[in-house]
């Protein structure tokens, strides 16, 4: 394609024809920001500015109508929220339980399934399709689907339990069973995501360390524990990071199965559901913003810990 005498890396604007109009020349020289600026401006307008406003709102007593006057009250919302043992701290606990349990099961199960799929086999294509389907299904619809299956009276879940001689369970309707049931739904829908990420990681590993360990007589478990897992660790952390952030922010499944306030006893009220309810069911914008800022800080903190861990893993290699 290129001329024989051409330098391998032409200087800036070298290719611009002499008859190129001035504005095109200018655009070409400033393309870095010309390309990036619209997206950056959009993000600034829709994210950074609202975020700043949320910080401001969290320092006011804004509530009721969005057009109502509000007063600056300093850190009082923060004191109120942090001393609120009726709603805020239980919501923190539920968020932690939901995310912790779902994430743990999803990673362990996801790893097991990814290992099963690692080596080629017949019918692989169909298994992969099955794994993809829950992942792309609309979460609200998934919530409704499980609502029917877990219905205490007509649901399939209690039918199946009946066949093996276990009595009916209240599932989503029970005060203590609702949260575990929603965790189950999350696991059903999102384990495939972990499988796909880990499988991509496994496929990118080279076979040599495995073969060397095999020649040394390592058992399958030893090979996984001491060869595959350490090599895969950066990918595992990415999976935990991506899935963890989304699990913390879970809303659709919880709201679709239990509605406002996470049910009548707030059984599944996580921080996100709580903040949503404060804003749009009770119009307590000031308080809601405070909860959101605290929630955001928690997410950033956890991400920071995980990214630091990933950097350490990479440095160790």
């Amino acid at each position: 394609m290129s001329a024989v005498t051409a330098p391998s890396r032409p200087p800036r604007g070298a290719g611009v024809m002499p008859d190129t109009p001035g504005w095109a020349r200018w655009a070409n020289d400033h393309r870095k920001w010309l390309f990036a600026a619209p997206a950056m401006a959009f993000v600034a307008a829709l994210i950074i500015f609202p975020l700043a406003w949320t910080v401001y709102l969290s320092l006011t007593d804004s509530s009721g109508s969005v057009r109502a006057e509000s007063e600056f009250i300093g850190l009082r919302n923060y004191l109120d929220v942090l001393s609120d043992t009726a709603r805020f701290w239980p919501a923190v606990g539920r968020t932690a339980a939901f995310t912790g349990v779902a994430l743990l099961v999803e990673v362990v199960l996801g790893m097991a399934i990814a290992l099963l799929l690692w080596r080629p086999f017949r019918g692989e294509r169909w298994v992969r399709v099955a794994i993809l389907l829950p992942l792309v299904a609309t979460p609200v619809a998934v919530g409704m689907m499980w609502r029917l299956i877990f219905d205490p009276n007509i649901g399939m879940a209690n039918q199946v339990l009946g066949w093996v001689g276990i009595g009916p369970q209240p599932w989503l309707a029970g005060q203590h069973t609702a949260l575990p049931t929603t965790i189950f739904i999350d696991i059903w829908q999102w384990t495939p995501m972990v499988v796909l990420i880990l499988l991509a990681g496994l496929t990118s590993l080279s076979d040599e360390p495995q073969e060397a360990a095999m020649i040394d007589g390592a058992s399958a478990w030893q090979r996984f524990r001491h060869v595959t897992l350490p090599l895969l660790m950066p990918t595992v952390i990415v999976a935990v990071l991506l899935r963890g952030i989304d699990a913390l922010k879970t809303f659709d499944i919880l709201y679709a199965t239990k509605g406002r306030g996470g049910g009548s006893f707030h059984e599944v009220e996580t921080l996100n559901v709580y903040a949503y309810g404060l804003s749009f069911d009770y119009n307590e914008y000031g308080l809601s913003s405070t909860v959101l800022i605290l929630f955001f800080l928690i997410i950033i903190g956890l991400m920071w810990v995980l990214t630091a861990r990933r950097k350490k893993e990479e440095a160790a290699r």
């Binding site: 829709l46 609202p50 975020l51 619809a141 609502r147 709201y255 959101l292």
Partner: protein
């Protein structure tokens, strides 16, 4: 590497269990959508029943779902196209000029809880009397699709060697010309991946539409949510509605499986 016979049997059994636990609930949902409510309540009719289209008639005719299907399609399509227009050049610049800090700002959108943006948006847009319109809905969905597109496309451009562009410069194209005539055509697989995923995420989005849509602009997930909340649930109708929203996306997924997988796992394996 060859697997032993014992492992292959174990793997076959385990995979059958995995596939069944993933598919049976979905099959159950679709089956229920073809049952009368009497049959849904009757456990002896779990698998053998006389299929009916009654639920779909209820949903599509009485409940105005054709309008909601159109709304969902329009919002997801517009949000995806606009995000591609903004996101692809931005991702190109961020990749080629190594603008990692700027990229981080855009990707922050993936981390922020959506509710914290909804409150200020609701503030601003209800004062502008725009809540309930398509514009607000599309803008809010772009908040999901733009970072996704930037993220996927940055990974794609990072892996695209710049020798071809340099050759084009030597041949007399401007940098922008090289981007338009050389890089973009080569990026079609990446753009397809980003576009498909963006469409799916927008189609599935619930929370933004729950707050920002009106009676005429309601998207399918909100319509499904509104289906319950009355005294007793019309399970047949509800399952028909959930099938209407999930089936198209699952059929699409069957055809473009490769793209979806590469999009979802983008950036997961590189250092």
């Amino acid at each position: 590497m060859r697997a032993s016979a014992g492992f292959r049997v174990f793997r076959a059994v385990a995979l059958v269990v995995v596939v069944l636990s993933l598919l049976l609930p979905l099959i159950w949902m679709v089956a229920a959508s073809f049952k009368t409510n009497v049959d849904i309540y009757d456990s002896s009719k779990a698998l053998v029943f006389t299929p009916t289209l009654g639920n779909y008639e209820t949903v599509l005719q009485q409940a105005n779902y054709l309008q909601f299907i159109f709304n969902s399609l329009w919002v997801a399509f517009a949000a995806t196209v606009l995000s591609l227009l903004l996101g692809v050049p931005a991702a190109y610049s961020m990749s080629r000029f190594n603008m990692r800090k700027s990229a981080l700002v855009v990707l922050m959108a993936r981390v922020i809880p959506g509710v914290s943006l909804l409150v200020p948006w609701y503030y601003v847009f209800s004062n502008l009397r725009m809540v309930g319109g398509f514009t607000v809905l599309i803008l809010s969905h772009m908040f999901v699709s733009l970072p996704l597109i930037v993220y996927i496309m940055m990974g794609f451009f990072d892996g695209l060697p710049d020798e071809l562009e340099e050759a084009a410069l030597v041949d007399g194209l401007t940098n922008i010309g090289a981007f338009r005539r050389i890089t973009l055509p080569l990026s079609v697989p990446g753009i397809a991946t980003a576009g498909i995923l963006s469409f799916i995420f927008s189609w599935n989005n619930f929370m933004f539409a729950l707050v920002l849509s009106g009676a005429d602009t309601k998207t399918l997930p909100v319509a499904i949510f509104d289906f319950v909340g009355y005294a007793s649930i019309d399970w047949g109708g509800l399952m028909a509605a959930t099938t209407v929203v999930t089936l198209p996306i699952m059929v699409i997924a069957l055809f473009v499986q490769k793209y979806i997988v590469s999009g979802l796992t983008a950036g997961a394996t590189k250092g």
